[in-house]
């Protein structure tokens, strides 16, 4: 568990759901609220969300597995979301991804020390200043492997602080 998220318990999960505004008592917003609080959607939470929204576990699982961003395992301390879409391809993200694989971790994998997840995303809306990555919630433009390593280091400090 990372310090940017709370530790899961059934009671804590129920509390998160109970604080949802009435018009967000739907499957996706409920799962997002759980993930926002705990960093992921624990297996145990699926049935709790289903019963809270009054839908089947199957429907809830269906939503959980549809959206790329929803996850069922805890994230690393730092998440690097590297844009792999066309505008960043045009400025060399394919070769950058290879450098990132060396310097941090291959796209779609966790660094060997377990502290950084590198995930692919499609478009961060910074298409004139690519390649682009989000490091946790911080957007970084004209990214190089070196600048990404620096951003990861400062994000790591932020998490531990």
């Amino acid at each position: 568990m990372t310090s940017r998220h709370a530790t899961w318990s059934v009671e804590a999960g129920q509390q998160v759901l109970d604080s949802l505004p009435v018009d967000e008592r739907l499957i996706l917003p409920a799962l997002q609220a759980i993930q926002h609080e705990f960093g992921y959607v624990p297996r145990e939470a699926v049935a709790i969300v289903a019963s809270f929204v009054n839908v089947s576990v199957a429907d809830t699982h269906g939503v959980l597995t549809f959206y790329h961003e929803l996850r069922t395992t805890p994230p690393a301390a730092v998440t690097v979301s590297l844009c792999m879409a066309e505008a960043c391809q045009a400025v060399g993200v394919r070769s950058l991804a290879q450098d990132v694989a060396q310097a941090i971790a291959p796209v779609g994998q966790r660094s060997t020390d377990g502290t950084v997840d590198v995930v692919e995303v499609f478009c961060l809306g910074n298409c004139a200043l690519g390649p682009t990555a989000l490091v946790n919630e911080r957007l970084i433009g004209t990214v190089t492997a070196e600048s990404l390593v620096r951003a990861v280091a400062s994000a790591r400090e932020g998490v531990n602080a």
Partner: protein, 509 residues
Amino acid sequence: MTRVYVPRDSAARSIGADEVAVAILTEAAVRGIDIELVRNGSRGMLWCEPLVEVVTEDGRVGYGSVSADHVADLFDAGFLTGGEHSSRLGVVDDIAWLKDQQRVTFARMGIIDPVNLDDYQAHGGLRGLRRALELGPEATVEEVLTSGLRGRGGAGFPAGIKWRTVMQAQADQKYIACNADEGDSGTFADRMLMEGDPFTLIEGMTIAGVSTGATVGYIYSRSEYPDANNTVREALAVAYERGVLGSDVLGSGKTFDLRLRVGAGAYICGEETAMIDSLEGLRGMVRAKPPIPALEGLFGKPTLVNNVMTLGSVPAILADGSAAYQSYGTERSRGTQIFQIAGNVARGGIVETGFGVSLAELVETYGGGTRSGLPVRAVQVGGPLGAYFPADKLDVSLDYESMIAAGGMVGHGGIVIFDKTVDMSLQARFAMEFCSKESCGKCTPCRIGSTRGVETIDKIREGVDRANNLVLLNDLCELMTDGSLCAMGGLTPMPVQSALRHFPEDFQR
């Protein structure tokens, strides 16, 4: 006291605007100078961000590509009074790149403090909503109709017809749903409006609400846009506090409630029916039409679904009248389009201008060619589902009809430039791969077709039975175009076939 502007736009922040802002405040304090620092939106000249502006007697003087290290130097050069410096760009409003544009929807972009409602009103904000409340629903919808405004999300459907359909629908509840799921690579206009002038979107949606009879609106944004979402939340709180939103819109007695919803990383949710499913908290599955959302949309109720740029253009149309808006553009493509120049480009950013500008002008005159300095080889227009144009065919006019005639589409106005190192067979492969990753899976041509597309292009690239596989690929593209339920599968062949048509040599290596 001197006023200094440093953008809060996330593109500017991505290359150091926050550090520049801190450095300016620190340096001013050290030197004992009183300044007022305003975090504005971006002017859209992303090639010279972070762009610092200083208010002088001559106007707002700009200093481009400023880094925190240069700040002390700028103070020494007397930048607070517009002093000479190598980064000085002159009076920002006089810079040709900006001056030659026709800014209508983006009129306030980069000029105001995005979450200051007084600043917004001082620059013409809320005039459109006030006029709509005076005119009443029918006349407001008529204005939108006669303005010629068409859906800016990509489909280009006449906005006024949609508005009239929702207005005339009888129901106990109607909704406005703003599609802010700007997933197309090469597009960032929605994000910039949400970050740089969110009240324009709020005003446009409120006009839509009070004129169609919808009392609840949703902005469906993306999780990839954390800054935009935070700014919209801030602006919504101000709009409620100041009575722009809520149970008595500007004292009219009309109700309009507006909320922000954020997606979870699914490109397909930019398709309007998938977005509606997602707003209902479900998997973003495409629905067959009819029924059209205008009659049976969110929770089965009449729902007006428009893109950020469409709704964001409405305040200007109402404020200055449909005739003024009509005067921009060509034939059936009226008004302005917010083009976004991206990818391998020397001067990327936002160019808002009337329809009919040529692709060459955007790529060469505004864009200044590639960032790498190598020759332009291909330009993709309209997002991942748009066509690739070769460098010798950029003289096409950017309007809905001309683009279709040229085998492409305007889409959301994104223009992605590639230099001569691009491998077009790899770009074609990516189009299919992207579709296979992002397909909702409901219809077979899209779900299976895209997977087979990747495999077939791999065979072509490896030289396996090339002639037959090229025939097969074109056949598959035709099937996907004709047989898919929505534009995701239906338009994925566009980049693939344009690559095949214009760059056949890349499939023969």
